[in-house]
Each structure stands twice: as structure tokens, then as C-alpha cells.
Amino acid sequence: MNLTLKIWRQKNAKEKGQMVDYKISNVSPDMSFLEMLDVLNNELIEKGDDPVAFDHDCREGICGMCSLFINGEAHGPDRGITTCQLHMRMFKDGDTIYIEPFRAKAFPVIKDLVVDRTAFDKIQHAGGFVSVNTSGNTQDANAIPIPKHDADRAFDAATCIGCGACVATCKNSSAMLFVSAKVSQFALLPQGKVEAAERVLNMVNEMDALGFGNCTNTGACEVECPKGISLENIARMNREYLKASLK
């Protein structure tokens, strides 16, 4: 395949960025999207140009490091995957592909397609944990049976990879899906219930303070989420928040 790429180039956080055109040829449909960018970068380096910076690490859809807004969609046109799992067979010969960073006030650009998502970590510092020390003396793991249904739903929420696609997709740059996934995981498990009220208040307050927007129930985040995190988690977080506020 021969393709035209329109890629966001920005030298650093301070300078202004712009879209730049690149041509790339002989792209195999079996390549992943990031391997296609590897090929482009190798060509740029050998020509003496600056390669395009983009975040990536595990390249198997689980670390959450890769991002990219491709043709107006977080992680590109396919569903249920991250950018590193996107394959070029999703595109046609002659296509023009727009590649931009995840954009949100709380995710400033570091360089080109690389953004700073430490705001997500900060929300977790505010309450994304169960306060238990490592001792070797906690009770036996089977001491509290947990209904399979609850354990499975807690797991589904816990599969969030913290990539930020929900924020990038949301017209309000809301982080509600991300935050609610962690709140839900713990709210559904007996181990998390003790601190549930404090946790939801602290995490939501931190989320607001960091400049993420509000949720207006559009549901785009759920559609674009590579792990299929459900909107039900936002509903659960709202319930937990209300319960905690009335205490």
C-alpha cells in the first residue's frame, strides 16, 4: 500500500505544533500501525530528519503506553484494541491518515504525539488503593468468599489500562470512565468497602482539581475504550459519590 500521513509535529511543550505531510510506500497489510511508523522513522533518520516521537512499550495492548488519535478516533478505526494492536489491513491503498496526539487540557503535549498523562497517576494517589500493609499475616485468601458475579464485575472494571482514550474522546475531556473503573473495582469487593466513601470523594475531588471535565452521558468513551470498560461504572461511581456525600 502507498499512503499519505498527516502527522502532528510539535518540538516541545512550549512551541506551537502543526500537521506535516509524509508519503510512505510498500506498507504491508500485516504490519501493525506502529510498525508502519517505525518504517517511516527509519526513513526519516537515514535522511537526517527528526523521527516522529510517539509513546509505546509492550506492543500487545496491555501496558496502556501507546495512544494516538487516528482519523479522529482514539486508537484508530478498529474496536476493542489499542493503537499497537491496530493493523494496516484496516486501511486501503491511497488512503490519507491523520495522526494526532490525545488532546486534553490535563494531558499537555511533551513532543509530537507524546503527551503527559501523570494526572491519571495523581488521581490514583488520592485513593486508588486499599490501605493494607504488607505483613504476611493477613487472613487466608479464602477466608472471605466473594460471589463470582461480583468478582467478575470487579475484574472487568480493573482491566482498565489507563491509556486515556476516554479523556481524549470525550468532548468535555472527562476522566469519569477511568476514575469510575477504579472506584467500582473496590466498591464491588469486601476488601474495598471499608474506605469506599473516603475513596470516592478524594478521587473525584482530585479529578476535578486537575482540570478534567464533567460527564454528560454521551457514552463515546465506552465505545472507544480499548478494554470495553462499561458506562455502568460511571453510574456506580455517581451512586457511591452521592452516598458518601450524604454521610
Binding site: 496502556g64 503506553m65 493477613t138
Partner: protein, 666 residues
């Protein structure tokens, strides 16, 4: 220097508890005055950082990713072992210990492995208390599955995302301490040297990957938890950024590197498709619980499949060769990884491989789908002879167990693994070798501890499935927090370590010199160009089967390539900014040294054991032939200015509780 493993005296099952009862402690008020650097935030580093901070030490944690949650432990799929014996199938601490030593082909240290088995139960308790959502049965209790090389079900799991859930558990424990200010987290930082003051590890030099600044960080001890070095092969299941740099820099400053040639080639990975490929994707070993591995029995069928004229589903049952079940009837598809990988290579080399490349075998779920489907039909009082219904019910069960893995496969290969068997082939996955450590997990540099995959101690020459997660968390949660106290107890009056000492200046200059050279080199080729060449040498000559001639050639070729790299590599951009090419160049420079030592170690070990297979040392039916008389030792290499001049130190492996026998899974 003579290697002293510091294994405590006394009977095996009392060593750890007696030792813990008698080592020195640091009182809470003094812990506040002691700093510890932890490099890497995977299962080992994350759990160590959180636990040390809970105890009251001031922790500085470093990772090259944008968040500690992204360390490559996150990608571990199948599960974590523990000798809970919840299934009542005869498991015990001793059996886990025995299976691990046997699985490692009798090249691991007894006392360390026994301790690992002992604390395995605490890990599961701790993780459940943190809210890790392990898979459960309908009664609400924890579920288990089985992994290769064992005959019990002791593996705890969370679908095919166990590593993710365990790492997020450790990350949550870290977050609690970051919030309290007890861990200072340095994201997007890479350790580029270790600083020794009076022979003790007292700090590191790190590069801030956002702005390129070279920083000095001091502490009373340095803990390296930076994983394995599988990326020396370029293609592996490791993350793109996984590297040996932190461990290698420690090696160059005095930490011995042990058994570098012990590398695990994992049998079930998605096969290579072309030159553009940047990494390989693992399909969890847990799939071998239910999947059956086969190739065509007839050569003409194999050829027809390779040419695309025949589909695997068209091959009759009697024309399939379930070669693992045939060769190893008692363990079948669940033989250990090294055995399964070699058996796949044997069939493909003999011409029975599938895929257009001939380098793949089938992993087939048809019979599992049928078996589960019939079981569900009986439970739900439905017609178990209705093939369509049975397929649907069975597919649901399989999807529930391995859904994310099947989806991953389908996205990469563009084939539906529920209806067509998966194609798999071995790929580099894990490195059992690593920096040498004593019973305290301290390297040959005083005050420098090595945890997790980065050390060598527990898996011998081959690691069993679901044991890496166990070891990482055992080291970080339950071993280091005790043993480091014994060392730091001598530092309660030391006070903060200043970073303006000449040792820091010298190490910083060393780092700046390498960066200056790379940036100012007027070369012509990108870093990947060299990395791919190195990978090819490693895979062809230091891969699944090795011989003296190939290894000797590999050492020379790697040395030559290294020279070429320093002359002809081209690194674009500047050193004082975000520069991913420079990051890669610094990592590949170290791989180019490690690779040579790796081949040297493989050349010196004139035997086959575990993942190390020397063609000269095999039985008539192609099984590995160990030589306990001459090689029952750990090979710990001391750096002497050039990888090929490394000096060998031996730690004899003494087995007091297990009799060394030929490993058999037949």
C-alpha cells in the same frame, strides 16, 4: 573474591524463619533517616518500593515509562503459583519447591527456592487483601488452573491478565505511599550508572527522558529490579523498552553476572510474519491446559498446508501427529517450556511445520470446546448430541477462560482461533540468568540488591510457568524488606549521602562521555539497523540449539558489530531533549556487550540443561544431556574491561534435600 551465598545453617524448612528471627532490625525512628533507591517498578520493584515505604524508609523509585503501572510485568498472562493446596490435590510447600528445582533442571539454589515456595502462600493472601480480583468459582472461593511441568493445579489467575492485576495491586500499594510522600516517584527516568562510594552502592546517575538532564541521586542502598534481557535477540515477547542497561552498568562496576546463557524460549508465541516485525506476542501457556498441539503426520499434508491448498480442519484425526502427547505421555501438552519448544523445532526442522514459513505448529481447541460444551449441556439438561449447541456452549466456556488471548490472536493473525487452530512457534521470552545474588538478594556490590527477573537465583536453567510473578512478588514483598534491614542497620548514623562526592562526578562524566560520542557520531545507520543484526546473530547461533562453532563465531561477530556500531551509528536530535533514538542507542550499546558474554557463557557450559541446549550434548532421542559431575555450579562472571575477558567464578550447587536425577516428563 570468593562467592559466599550466605545460606543459613539448619534444616531446609527452618532456614528462613530462623534467619528472620536473628537478623538485625532498624527501629522506626531510624528508618526515617535512611534512603533507598529502587530502579524499575514491575512486580519486584513495585512491591519492594511499597513495602519499604510502609516500613518507614524514604524510597526513591525510578521507571523509564510514563507511569509505574506500565512496567512489563503488566503483560504476564497466565497466572501465579502458590502452594495453597486449595484443590486438595496433594500440593505442599515441598512439592512446589521440588517441582521448581526439577523444572529448573537442577541448576537453582535449594535454599532460595524453598523460601520462595514458603512465602508463595503469603503472596496470594496479600494480593486478595489489596483487592486483586482473582478468578473465583461459583462458591465464591478462588479458582486454580494447571501449568507446565507439574501435576497439581496451583496456579491462581485473573483471566489472561494476571500480571496486569498483580501489578496494579503493587501499583496501588505504591500510590498509597506516593500520596503519603514516602515514595518519591521519578517517571520517565532511566538509570545510566551506579555510584559506588568506599565500595558500597550509594546512588545512581539517571537521565530525565523528558528534558535530557543528567541527574545524581544518592541513597544508602540501591535496589535494581529492571527485569530480563531477552531483547538482546531484538525479537522477543519483551516490551520494546525492556533493557539490560541498569544491570549491565552494575556488572561493569563489580556485580557478577550469573548464567547469562540460560534463556527461556517460550513455545506458544505467534509466529514471525515478515521483516517489519518489531516484537513477538505470547499466547499464554495456560492455553496448553485445553489446547492440543499437533502437526500433520504426512509430509504431503504439511506441504499442501504451507502452499495454502489445504486447511488444518480438513485433516483427519488419524493424520494428525500430537507429538507432545506421543513423546511425553505422562505430561502431554503440559511439559515444561524448554521441552515443548525443542519438540516444536524438531518437527519443523523435519519438514512438518505449517504456516507459509514452515515455522509454526497448531494449537487446537476443538476438542476442548466439545468437552466443555458436552459438560455444560449435561449441567443445563440440554441435548449433548446437538453439535451446534455443544459448540456454542463450549465456545462460551473457552471464551470466558481465554477470551482476551483469542481476541489478541485474531487481531494479529486475522483468523478466528475458535474455528481454525492457532498457529504458534517458540520465541524468546524470559531470562533465567541475571546478576548474581546471595541469600539476602545482595549482589557482589555491597548494598546493591537485585530482585525479580534481573537476578539469577530461583529458576535454574528453565523457569516453570506462573513462577515469574511468584518470584517477583516474593522478592519485593517478603524477602528484601527483611534482608535489607540487616544491612541498613549499620547505616543509622551515616546521615544523608551527599551527591557532590567525586565518585558521583566521575560516574556522571562517564555517562556524559558515552552520550556525547553517540550524539556527535557522523554515522549512517539507525540504531534498529544494528539491533536487528545483533538479534539475528543471537537467534541463529545462540538460540534454541547451540554448538561450539556457532558460539565462537557469534562472539567474534558481536564484537565486530559493536565496533561497527560505535563507528557508524547515527543518532538524530539532541541530548538535551526528549529523544527516543538516544534512549535506544544507549540500550543497544549495552546489549552489544552482553551478547558477547552470553555466547561466551554458552560456549563454556559443555552440557545441555534446561533452556541451554548444546547440540554436542544430547541423548539418542534428542533429549538434553546434563553433566552434573562437571557443571553443577552457577557460572558468575566478573567484568574485566571487555566481555570476552570476563573471569569465571563458580558457586557449587549443593543439593542436600533433592537427589539429582535425569529430568523426565515421559
Amino acid at each position: 573474591m570468593k562467592l559466599d551465598s550466605k545460606i543459613p545453617n539448619g534444616p531446609l524448612d527452618k532456614k528462613w524463619s530462623d534467619y528472620k528471627n536473628h537478623i538485625k532490625l532498624v527501629n522506626p525512628a531510624n528508618k526515617r533517616n535512611i534512603d533507598v533507591i529502587v530502579v524499575g517498578t514491575g512486580l519486584a520493584g513495585g512491591s519492594a518500593a511499597a513495602t519499604l515505604a510502609e516500613l518507614g524508609y524514604n524510597v526513591k523509585a525510578f521507571c523509564y515509562q510514563d507511569s509505574p503501572r506500565r512496567a512489563h510485568s503488566i503483560a504476564a498472562q497466565g497466572g501465579i503459583n502458590a502452594s495453597k493446596n486449595y484443590q486438595g490435590d496433594g500440593d505442599s510447600v515441598y512439592r512446589l519447591f521440588y517441582d521448581t528445582v526439577k523444572g529448573g533442571d537442577y541448576r537453582a539454589r535449594e535454599a532460595n527456592v524453598y523460601r520462595l515456595a514458603e512465602v508463595s502462600e503469603n503472596i496470594i493472601d496479600q494480593c486478595v487483601a489489596q483487592g486483586v480480583p482473582f478468578a473465583r468459582e461459583y462458591g465464591g472461593l478462588l479458582d486454580n488452573r494447571s501449568f507446565g511441568g507439574v501435576q497439581v493445579s496451583r496456579t491462581f489467575y485473573a483471566k489472561g491478565q494476571t500480571g496486569q492485576q498483580l501489578l496494579l495491586g503493587a501499583y496501588s500499594a505504591m500510590n498509597r505511599q506516593i500520596g503519603r510522600g514516602k515514595i518519591k516517584m521519578y517517571n520517565r527516568h532511566e538509570m545510566l550508572d551506579i555510584v559506588l562510594v568506599d565500595g558500597k552502592a550509594r546512588g545512581i546517575i539517571a537521565r530525565n527522558l523528558i528534558n535530557g538532564e543528567i541527574e545524581r541521586h544518592s541513597a544508602h542502598a540501591v535496589v535494581i529490579c529492571t527485569g530480563g534481557y531477552g531483547n538482546v535477540f531484538f525479537l522477543s515477547t519483551n516490551a520494546m523498552g525492556s533493557n539490560v542497561t541498569a544491570a549491565w552498568k552494575a556488572h561493569k562496576r563489580g556485580a557478577y553476572f550469573a548464567n547469562p546463557c540460560y534463556t527461556q524460549i517460550h513455545p506458544t508465541c505467534i509466529p514471525v510474519t515478515g521483516d517489519h516485525q518489531s516484537k513477538l506476542t505470547l499466547m499464554s501457556e495456560s492455553l496448553r491446559n485445553d489446547g492440543r498441539i499437533w502437526v500433520p503426520k504426512k509430509m504431503e499434508d504439511a506441504i499442501a498446508i504451507r502452499e495454502g491448498k489445504l486447511k488444518p480442519t480438513q485433516i483427519a484425526e488419524e493424520d494428525r501427529d500430537y507429538y507432545l502427547e506421543r513423546r511425553y505421555p505422562s505430561f502431554g501438552n503440559l511439559v515444561p517450556r524448554d521441552v515443548a519448544s525443542r519438540a516444536a523445532k524438531e518437527r519443523c526442522d523435519a519438514g512438518y511445520g505449517v504456516n507459509s514459513t514452515g515455522e509454526a505448529v497448531y494449537l487446537d481447541f476443538a476438542s476442548a470446546i466439545e468437552r466443555y460444551g458436552k459438560e455444560q449441556a449435561r449441567i443445563q439438561h440440554l441435548d449433548e448430541n446437538d453439535a451446534k449447541l455443544v459448540y456454542k456452549l463450549g465456545k462460551d466456556v473457552v471464551e470466558n477462560k481465554y477470551g482476551n488471548l483469542f481476541q489478541m490472536y485474531e487481531k494479529i493473525v486475522d483468523e478466528d482461533p475458535y474455528t481454525t487452530p492457532m498457529m504458534i512457534y517458540p520465541a524468546v521470552h524470559y531470562t533465567m540468568g541475571g546478576l548474581w545474588v546471595d541469600y539476602n538478594l545482595m549482589s557482589t556490590i555491597e548494598g546493591c540488591y537485585i530482585l525479580g527477573e534481573a537476578n539469577f537465583s530461583d529458576h535454574g536453567a528453565n523457569r516453570l510457568g506462573a513462577s515469574a510473578l511468584m518470584q517477583g512478588l516474593a522478592d519485593g514483598y517478603f524477602v528484601l524488606p527483611y534482608t535489607i534491614g540487616d544491612y541498613l542497620a549499620n547505616d543509622i548514623r551515616t546521615g544523608a549521602i551527599p551527591t557532590d562526592l567525586p565518585e558521583f562526578a566521575a560516574a556522571e562524566k562517564n555517562v556524559r562521555d558515552i552520550i556525547d560520542h553517540l550524539m556527535n557520531n557522523k554515522g549512517t545507520h539507525s540504531v534498529d539497523h544494528f539491533h536487528k543484526k545483533l538479534g539475528k546473530i543471537m537467534w541463529d547461533k545462540v538460540g534454541m540449539a547451540r554448538n561450539a562453532k556457532g558460539l565462537t563465531e557469534a562472539m567474534d561477530e558481536i564484537a565486530e558489530l559493536r565496533e561497527d556500531f560505535y563507528k557508524n551509528v547515527k543518532v538524530s536530535g539532541t541530548a538535551e531533549s526528549f529523544n527516543q533514538e538516544l534512549e535506544k542507542a544507549l540500550r543497544v550499546a549495552d546489549f552489544l556487550e552482553l551478547g558477547e558474554l552470553f555466547a561466551k557463557d554458552a560456549l563454556h557450559r559443555e552440557e545441555s540443561c534446561g533452556g541451554h541446549f548444546r547440540e554436542e550434548h544430547q541423548t539418542e532421542d534428542g533429549e538434553a544431556k546434563r553433566d552434573d559431575e562437571n557443571f553443577a555450579y552457577v557460572a558468575a562472571w566478573e567484568y574485566k574491561g571487555n566481555p570476552r575477558e570476563a573471569v569465571l567464578h563458580k558457586e557449587d550447587l549443593v543439593y542436600e534435600n533433592i537427589k539429582l536425577v535425569t529430568r523426565s516428563y515421559k
